[in-house]
Amino acid sequence: MDRTEERAARYDRAILSLPAELRACARRLEMSARADAEELRLRAGRVGTVLLPEGERPFTDRILTPRDLDGVLELATQASVHTAREAFRAGYITVRGGFRIGIGGTAVIRDGQPDGFRAVSSLALRISREVRGAGEEVIRELTGEGAFRSTLLLSPPGVGKTTLLRDLVRLLSDGDPKSGLSPQRVSLADERGEVAALQDGVPRMDVGRQTDVLENCPKDRAVLQLLRTMNPQIVALDEVTAPEDVQAIRYAANCGVQILATAHADGLSDLLARPLYRELLRLGVFRHAVLIQKNGRTRTYKVIRLEETI
């Protein structure tokens, strides 16, 4: 199976989350589009579209109804919306295979907090892909004297933070002889189940031989629990978004553990413009930042030494 076929196969797995009729439409796309597809967008009152590197393009002729969207959620939760309540509050659900479905619509607010949806108006099925080797380009720059130093991966949404995080976790866990890195015990706080994509306890994505995963648990609590129970050398977590996450990172760093995390930002100046991340950098936990940029189909990685920059 060549790379295009492999990528298309991942798309084919993702569309299993769609009801039969939509799935049949999505399957009709040509191989190259299936291989390049980043997301499927379903909006009530509009035709379904596929997001490709060059933009969105329809994959159905039919206007979608709220019933179609309900059907997707019913299938995704196996008619068990009540068990995915926390995820609904956060506005997404993760389905088998580690694919995330983002939800838009009319939110229900309880005690000032979003508490699910009264009506769903749009869904975004993200086709996450494992890119083995994505981290090899940067791992050498992130290790000093054979030891990994805490690193923050930066990019705007949808550019490839999670993909790079996953591959770096794999490299750190298995070790990388080229950079003189021996295998490390990595604990992965995978709140959305997107990084390792556990299925019946087994990761569907390669996150390395020495990686312990805690899925579906809020990141801050997951980090503390993993520190207590798994004796990690490195803690990895996706998307630092809340002050609690920053506190958990600080606690982990004080325990002598290295951190690998991701954050939404266009660059260092964008990161520093936001109080939460300013606080994170002020702690001095991170030695490196990796800026991910996307130009058409190409991704580039730029390693920034934070001690020299800030």
Binding site: P19, D70, G71, T77, H82
Partner: protein, 171 residues
């Protein structure tokens, strides 16, 4: 000889009709009692454990009394078609096609309501919907049991009497 044979056939036909009515009365009472009991369990599971629907159906198929167990087995097997058919439809067709399930149209309508809300809302809202249907199912079950006790003998007697009457007229 042919007259005697005709008389026997008439008599057994009428008695059979009476017997069928009795079986139906008993079957409905048994069905509603078993379903109402299983709904108590369903409500508790959803409220206390937030049990996912497939797991819940598995549990109820294993532990419920006949014929509710067969019904939940049927729904569980229909869940494989999720994505092709909505859950509410799987639930409703299972109500109509599970062998051994004896329901009047009004009973089916009531229980079909549950398929629309099951697995679709948060645990509290679902538990509330289950309780609402359970309470009405319990009421129907009590009525069905009373009808069974009251009408079984009447149906049996009416069947035999109708047969005897027809035989007498013909002979």
């Amino acid at each position: 000889m042919i007259r005697v044979l005709g008389a026997i056939l008439l008599l057994s036909g009428a008695a059979g009709w009476g017997l069928r009515s009795i079986v139906r009365l008993r079957g409905r009472a048994q069905t509603l009692t078993a379903i109402a009991a299983s709904l108590t369990w369903m409500e508790t599971e959803i409220r206390a454990q937030m049990t996912p629907t497939p797991e819940l159906l598995e549990l109820l198929a294993r532990e419920s009394a006949y014929p509710a167990d067969a019904f939940y087995r049927q729904v569980l097997s229909g869940m494989k078609q999720l994505g092709e058919r909505p859950f509410a439809e799987v639930w409703r067709t299972s109500l109509l096609h599970t062998p051994g399930l004896v329901l009047e149209p009004g009973d089916t309508l009531l229980l079909a309501e549950l398929g629309v809300s099951l697995g679709k809302y948060d645990a509290d809202a679902q538990a509330q919907a289950v309780r609402h249907v359970r309470q009405r199912a319990e009421l129907l079950s009590r009525e069905a049991c009373a009808a069974r006790d009251r009408d079984s003998r009447v149906h049996a007697a009416a069947g035999v009497a109708a047969g005897v009457f027809a035989v007498m007229i013909l002979l």
